[in-house]
Symmetry: C2
Subunit: 352 residues, 2 copies
């Protein structure tokens, strides 16, 4: 059976139905001024009656906007996360924040993957820009600070947002206040009576690693708890590095009763170290994690954690890009998105 595709309703039909020109219909659709209310109402009626929906491709081709926001993620990491099936929900949170925000404005978010480390990054992104003409691009780590990508986007005059970056540079930068987050985490433990509090940092390649250490140190200093460098372990976000760092902290003569760890993987490692040493969590050792990915709900005990507001950051990115008039990419102060300390079972009073 060969069904013929029904001829779609175009702006022409609406114009005819309403007895106005194409242009007037276009103006009404796009909420442009200079249309009398009567006419506007007539057009809107016609639109509703015919069930007219503007065609995206035609809109893009004729006009200057595509109503498309392109979100870019690192291919290898993303695909690996999907394949592993360990519940990393970075992409989901991006969709949650980005798609819904785009939809609010009649935009669509298209999600794509690019190879960060390949020499083809530029070609890949260039191709996507040429094919899609997105009105804006959302960059995530590690793309957010990639000079090649930023250069290309700038040269192409495509507005872009950099999530998780506070580096100066073109485009909108959107991040959480990592220093403040570490500070809040530290204060939480201090509030529970802890005096010896350890910190396991993330990879130095990420600016946020340093910021978190600073926040921790600031809170410790403010509480008069000193600044014992042995309490700061160095990790690289991997489980194994967490193991090593936690082990080192626990082996101290005067070990911490609370540890703040820079991501969920390393926190899981810390839990494992505690178990091996017969330290009950949180009775003997309190632990706070960073990121708050799904796994924190399934560990025993569930982890108290600072969440990474990926959905909110992506939503903000989409919003800024949609607002931005194409071509105008003036430097702006970074958007700082609020985070939350989610208290679960891994923290408790000292000596609980």
């Amino acid at each position: 059976m060969q069904t013929t595709r029904p001829r779609p309703v175009t702006i022409k039909h609406v114009a005819a139905e309403a007895g106005v020109s194409l242009q007037t219909v276009s103006r009404v659709i796009n909420n442009e001024p200079n249309v009398r209310d009567v006419v506007k109402a007539r057009v809107k009626d016609a639109v509703a009656k015919l069930g007219y929906v503007p065609n995206l491709a035609a809109r893009r081709l004729g006009g200057s906007r595509s109503y498309l926001i392109l979100a870019l993620n690192d291919r290898d990491r993303t695909v690996e996360g999907w394949r592993l099936g360990e519940g990393t929900d970075w992409v989901d949170q991006m969709l949650l924040g980005g798609m819904l925000k785009c939809a609010e404005h009649g935009y669509r978010m298209l999600f794509e993957l690019v190879d960060t480390h390949s020499e083809h990054v530029e070609r890949e992104i260039f191709a996507a820009l040429s094919a899609l003409n997105p009105d804006g691009v959302i960059l995530t780590p590690p793309h957010s600070d990639n000079p090649i990508i930023i250069g290309l986007l700038t040269a192409q005059a495509v507005p872009f947002a950099r999530i998780g970056s506070v580096e100066d540079g073109a485009g909108f930068s959107i991040a959480m206040d990592d220093a403040r987050a570490a500070q809040v985490a530290t204060e939480h433990l201090i509030g529970l009576g802890h005096r010896r509090i350890g910190f396991i940092s993330g990879s130095d390649e990420y600016a946020l690693s340093g910021a978190r250490v600073e926040g921790y140190q600031a809170a410790m200093g403010a509480a008069g708890l000193g600044n014992d460098p042995r309490l700061v372990g160095r990790g690289d976000f991997s489980f194994d590095s967490g193991l090593a760092a936690a082990e080192a902290l626990c082996a101290l003569d005067d070990p911490p009763t609370g540890i703040i760890v820079s991501n969920d993987q390393m926190t899981l490692a810390t839990l494992q170290v505690a178990k091996a040493r017969n330290l009950a969590v949180p009775e003997d050792l309190s632990v706070i994690s960073f990121d708050d990915t799904p796994v924190v709900r399934f560990s025993v005990p569930p982890l108290t954690a600072i969440n990474q507001p990926i959905a909110a950051m992506t939503a903000r990115a989409a919003e800024l890009l949609i607002q931005a008039k194409s071509g105008a990419t003036e430097p702006q102060p970074p958007s700082i998105v609020p985070f939350e300390l989610v208290v679960r079972g891994s923290t408790g009073p000292r000596g609980g």
Copy 2:
């Protein structure tokens, strides 16, 4: 600073560079016949030299294809999953399978959400079709068997695929062999020496629930283990229903030493019941789950499970749609995608 958007490379430039007409370039790009190899090579060189990438909007507007596949999910369930952050990776697996497969063919997959239960489903999808003109639509449960949606898509002559459905009807249906999966799970337990094997079914609203019970019964029968109806508990995929069903099974005079459960949530519940009854898993009770979502890796012990091949099903859907010539939506036999029994720690020899 106001950068001007560089004038993009169009098919015209390529034609000029290669010294041929637009049509010839178009033919080469689209791999159409009737172009001499010499000319084809010349055009390809020009494309490479200029870095030409065809514009999607123009392609769609001029031609009959949009190079877009639209994947539709239920809005409420999807958004709830994202908000809960419990690691459900259905969407991720769809992207993994669908996006990558589309990319292989120069297509793009666009992911959207629609309200199943609203009266607006039809309007929503119609709007998406009008705006996007996708070359195909991928439906997931519960849309896969929604007659309104299927009717609309059929009327619009848009090829579509229904994931997780084996119901007859228009469009491609793509599913896994649930009966066989349950059978394999049952055989796995039988192979471990289990004789009393329980089964907790899912909601009767899903055809797959019945199929799984049948597969289980078939395996039991084939092994001469009879067909004790008390061994089949009825759940509805919720944690609580799993609790009740598992409790009932364990309370039998002659309780099972192995239980197969129709999804991960109910299996987690079964684990909890076992713990409450001081049954060690897998020593006293073996458990096999269905779905294999990320959570199975984090439970104690990790769950042996039948995976749901979402990525493979979505990839298959994309493939079929891309192949399908628009307009020709002849009934086809369902595509059955292979599943896997992933053995982890929740199953062991009887009386292990």
